[in-house]
Symmetry: C2
Subunit: 268 residues, 2 copies
Amino acid sequence: MIDVSSYCVKPGSVVNLNKMPTCQGGGLNKVSARKKLLLLLKRIDQLQELMYAEGKHALLVVLQGMDAAGKDSTIRNVFGPVNPQGCGVVSFKAPTGEELGHDFLWRVHARTPARGMITVFNRSHYEDVLIARVKKLAPLTQIRKRYAHINAFEKLLHDEGTVMVKFFLHISKDYQKARLQRRLDRVEKQWKFNPQDLAERQRWPQYQKAMELVLRQCATDVAPWYVVPAEKRWFRDLLVAQVLVQTLEGMKMRYPRLGFDPGKMVIE
Amino acid sequence: MIDVSSYCVKPGSVVNLNKMPTCQGGGLNKVSARKKLLLLLKRIDQLQELMYAEGKHALLVVLQGMDAAGKDSTIRNVFGPVNPQGCGVVSFKAPTGEELGHDFLWRVHARTPARGMITVFNRSHYEDVLIARVKKLAPLTQIRKRYAHINAFEKLLHDEGTVMVKFFLHISKDYQKARLQRRLDRVEKQWKFNPQDLAERQRWPQYQKAMELVLRQCATDVAPWYVVPAEKRWFRDLLVAQVLVQTLEGMKMRYPRLGFDPGKMVIE
């Protein structure tokens, strides 16, 4: 078992991403990690069904990371095996005109999970303090207030039954280069390459700084941030899955009381 | 390979569900069927990615069936292995007050897939001519007009790029009894049992009749209905998966032209 707490950002602490590992194996190897992962995924599936049966909680998972950090493949590997009826994915792109007509949490709030469900946010409201900060999409005075708005929103979700966990998939700039090059080299992946991504890559230090601010301001007890060394993908998947199992088990869920006596039901 | 066309309802034909098989193996056995299924699921996953890359089509899958016909497990087995980011499930329950404030297609239209995506409807707008007809939830004169509204709506989807395929999971009344009893007998499944389902079971012939009307009125070339013998679950999954592969392959999709020369991109 990985000690997941060592990847969890302590509320209020100052984070230096440069000093945090991007490539780790936790003393495990790929084969044993994949075996452990299978057991954890089975458990997540069972716990989601229990969560649905109980009807008291939902689970919201936020995934953030630079381009090519592995958000898509984490979703495929960790959430793919969960019952698709109990687990949805929302990918937040650049906001539409209608979305921009509202506060930045409007479109996000609308897509939070119903009780019993798991929702994965591929990017999230955090973009409104990441890309929005780096590219000055809103005045700085407005962006500075957003951290507190985010914390209040996440507290609301928590108090109303939605448990939240947030992952930053941490990679190095060199690793990103290798992954982007791989997209260019494989014919069936070229469509994923967007030349605009290269411009964002130039702003690497600014994005890292903006993310450090997020971790400092928005790592809370009710909505923790985990910084995941994401270059070894099998370790990344295992760490994320283990956090999910521990989070779901922490809900102390039970099957609901039945409103009837199963022994007395007669099916004609 | 199963000859899927023999399970497809011919537009305008009169269907007698009593004469259609509920339990079939198609000359296959469970082990070989599961192997074939794995290959088909892999292909569905690839084709969904291609559909996303091309950005011209979406796939909408409708699942209907009596209680315990296996809608949930079909979703788990056939759509579970598809990338969760490209595949969503919408379960339609009894309409809310807001939904009842609109025409019956309003809530359904809102949940149709975006281009590139697969959406599975677990129950659908067909409930508005099934349960609504059996339980007289709307005047008959209104319900009678709905078949044409459904056909017009499905034609719209087709003409705008959403390919549709509809499955009725066909079981016998005896099989339903066995499945419902199984829910009662297993402690961790008892929460799924709803005593109200027994009242619906009493209306079995009316539901079958209402479904026969649907098949007669709404099996079209652009949105075909398949009647799936659903009692052997491995056969059910295989038939559904094969129809999906053939439907996706029928779209004749291609990767989009790139707006850049991959050989000339330099990642600094």
